[in-house]
């Protein structure tokens, strides 16, 4: 069944598209930030820096 959006279709589609883009940016930001932090922890681990508990820097659950 086709959805009829009437004369204001552009306003409705823009609203949903904007929400999709912003949510995609948020998800991308969280994923890339996680990769960036784990990468930096791996580099620190390779250079021999360990946490005060003695555990590896990359020991993240």
């Amino acid at each position: 069944m086709m959805i009829s959006l009437g004369p204001y279709a552009s306003f409705i589609v823009t609203s949903y598209a904007a929400a999709a883009i912003v949510v995609a940016i948020l998800i991308g930001w969280v994923v890339l930030d996680y990769r960036n932090q784990t990468q930096r922890l791996r580099e620190l681990d390779r250079s021999g820096v360990t946490r005060r508990s003695g555990r590896s820097a990359v020991d993240t659950p």
């Binding site: 009829s4 823009t14 609203s15 929400a19 912003v22 996680y34 932090q37 620190l44 820097a57 659950p61």
Partner: protein, 261 residues
């Protein structure tokens, strides 16, 4: 496991790693159901199909205030109990809250043009939400401006609690002042004025967006904990280098003075 146990960042990382996939799956399922119901909701007799913007605008508007509420509780945790995860929670929530507020303003504006004949009006509701958005941006700038996270946390916590005064102003602005924005139609004394055909998709979308916030917030908190771990390890590394160079310089000076003698 109690809340106190969760205060340990390592335990939080372990627990959140187990919970996150389930939360993400529940969010996707609910969003799919909500979007399907929104797409096939009937047209409103006055607004026509533009009523579909409500299903995206209202959850974002609710969350814009809810996220600031979460940050306010976290700020109390920072100032009163000095909870280890409180300022992590507050900092991680700010960009997500700012995004929801931005979407509430944008979709409200896109809904306003065909219904009110204008994208923007400086009335109490719209202006108070714009102030909320600017406060989110100010808070994010504050976090970036102060290098030491614990000092930034205290300043941000005070600003967040002061900013919480804006929440009841936003909520009751439509009752206290004569505004272009419609009064509350879901959370009001005497029950919702919305027909079930609109109310059910709206509630599903509201729960879906709330789950989206919880999922993103937990993931962002994990990143913030890791960022602080990186920072403290880098400081340890820097102090070791400084210590070893001090020891090296000291022994060289000792040898030089022995040689001179």
């Amino acid at each position: 496991m109690t809340l106190i146990d969760l205060a340990n960042p390592t335990r939080f990382l372990a627990l959140s790693a187990r919970v996150l996939p389930w939360l993400a799956a529940a969010t996707v399922i609910l969003l799919t159901i909500g979007l399907y119901q929104s797409a096939y909701a009937p047209d409103d007799y006055q607004q026509g199909a533009t009523v579909k913007i409500m299903f995206i605008h209202v959850p974002n508007a609710w969350l814009s205030m809810f996220v600031w509420g979460v940050m306010s509780v976290a700020s109390l945790g920072t100032l009163v109990w000095r909870h280890p995860l409180a300022d992590v929670a507050a900092k991680a929530a700010a960009p997500i809250g700012a995004s929801f507020t931005f979407l509430a303003l944008l979709t409200g504006s896109l809904w306003g043009r065909p219904m009110w004949g204008t994208y923007w009006e400086w009335d109490a509701r719209l202006t108070s939400v714009l102030i909320l958005f600017l406060m989110y941006l100010g808070l994010m700038a504050l976090w970036r401006a102060v290098e030491d996270p614990s000092r930034a946390a205290r300043a941000a916590a005070v600003l967040t609690l002061v900013g919480a005064i804006n929440l009841p102003i936003i909520k009751f602005s439509v009752d206290w002042w004569n505004t272009l924005h419609q009064p509350a139609s879901v959370m009001r004394m005497g029950g919702s004025t919305l027909d079930k055909a609109f109310l059910i998709p709206l509630l599903v979308m509201a729960v879906a967006f709330t789950l989206l916030f919880v999922t993103l917030h937990i993931a962002a908190m994990r990143n913030e904990i890791l960022r602080r771990r990186v920072r403290s390890l880098q400081m340890m590394q820097a102090s070791r280098i400084a210590f070893s160079s001090d020891v090296g310089t000291g022994s060289r000076q000792e040898n030089a003075s022995k040689g001179a003698a």
